[in-house]
């Protein structure tokens, strides 16, 4: 199933020629249709946005990986979504409650929740990600143990709740009390970290579409998270991906759930404003 352009790229490598590899491995013109519903994966950037066009990471993946996301049966994320669906109705903790006891049908009560995350929580006076809300429910209402960030139980529940917003546009609030977090997130985004001295922007703003060794760089959008990665065959949370990226610059990373990563999550979410939520997506 080699395409002509792919053959060319391989021929070029065989000659030992150093080429900036063309994006031959992905069909960048394709539309993403999940179960018959079309997703917005290319959005015109608003005034003052650092990018010209906002592009979903799905565009940069191979044909085979792209195909996995178009059908919920083929999408392996749904193994975990089903597990979370069971956890949703499972009573846990001292209060004898499940998620369902208060929130009822997840498809009704959690619709649109993911699209606005992370958001400023007035009561806690802090910026909260979906994980914060889940754990606050678990510890306060259910009196159960909190889940750890970026672990299987938590990622599955985030995926289940996120799925209820699939197809809706990313729309986080960055003004008012969230503005200070937004600013902090932006600063982290443009700060060079680690021995390799790379900032998020070096790859995901300056070089998306290019190859970084064998990897086709995307814009680093988070509209599909948690995402099932073929490389580790499980769901990966936003913060785990941030951590992986910063680790790859050979830096000491922030922790999943830290204030820094929540601020970065807000900023990166804003960079993807308007993209359809694809949760749970499939990536390489």
């Amino acid at each position: 199933m080699f395409k002509a352009s792919q053959k060319l790229a391989i021929a070029a490598l065989a000659l030992g020629a150093l080429v900036s590899a063309p994006a031959a491995w992905a069909d960048e013109e394709a539309d993403l249709i999940i179960n018959g519903e079309k997703m917005d994966i290319r959005v015109e950037a608003p005034e003052g946005h650092p990018l010209d066009e906002i592009l979903s990471g799905w565009i940069f993946r191979t044909d085979e990986t792209q195909a996995l996301e178009t059908d919920d049966f083929d999408n392996p994320s749904f193994i975990f979504v089903e597990q979370a669906q069971e956890a949703w109705s499972t009573v846990e903790g001292e209060a004898g409650k499940s998620c369902e006891s208060c929130h009822g049908d997840v498809a009704e009560s959690m619709k649109g929740v993911r699209a606005a995350m992370p958001k400023y929580n007035e009561q806690a006076k802090d910026l909260w990600s979906l994980e914060n809300y889940i754990n606050s429910c678990r510890t306060e209402r259910m009196q159960a143990k909190p889940w750890k960030w970026a672990k299987a139980d938590m990622d599955a529940m985030v995926a289940l709740i996120g799925l209820q917003s699939r197809g809706m546009p990313m729309s986080v609030k960055v003004d008012g009390p969230a503005a200070e977090y937004f600013k902090k997130g932006e600063e982290i985004y443009y700060t060079r970290f680690g021995q390799l001295e790379l900032s998020c922007a070096n790859c995901h703003e300056d070089n998306y579409g290019n190859m970084i060794r064998a990897d086709h760089l995307s814009q680093g959008q988070i509209n599909g998270f948690p995402t099932y990665r073929l490389k580790n065959t499980k769901l990966n949370s936003i913060h785990a991906r941030f951590k992986g990226c910063i680790r790859d610059t050979r830096a000491e990373t922030f922790s999943p759930g830290s204030e820094e990563f929540r601020a970065l999550e807000l900023y990166v979410a804003w960079r993807g404003q308007g993209l359809s939520i694809e949760t749970p997506s499939v990536r390489q």
Partner: protein
């Protein structure tokens, strides 16, 4: 990924003699036996070593799986449906347990 659960997609209806597409996926760690844990002890092998699909007692497809197959193995294949009946899917684990899924199909 503690729980092992099969998922199967079979159309509920077909024409007599029609060739249908069947998709199966089972959540399973497929531990190869080649890895070591943090203290250096080998992690014992635990994989699905056999997959069999049958229709009304007759085998449709069978596959032997090896340690290199990655977790959550997925099979997609085609089968001819001569009559109404039931598909049976069986995955055999290294520890001898067999995970089963059944799907009925109507004609018409």
């Amino acid at each position: 990924m503690a729980k092992i659960k099969p998922r199967v997609k079979v159309p509920s209806k077909a024409e007599a003699g029609e060739v249908i597409t069947i998709k199966t996926l089972i959540s399973h760690p497929m531990e190869s036996g080649q890895r070591k844990d943090k203290s250096g002890n080998p992690i014992p092998r635990k994989i699905i070593n056999k997959f069999v699909a049958s229709f009304n007692g007759q085998e449709v497809i069978s596959a032997d799986l090896a340690p290199a197959v990655s977790s959550n193995p997925y099979f997609q294949f085609e089968a001819k449906v001569p009559e109404a009946g039931e598909f049976l899917f069986q995955w055999t684990d290294d520890d001898g347990s067999v995970y089963e899924a059944k799907k009925k199909i109507k004609i018409g």
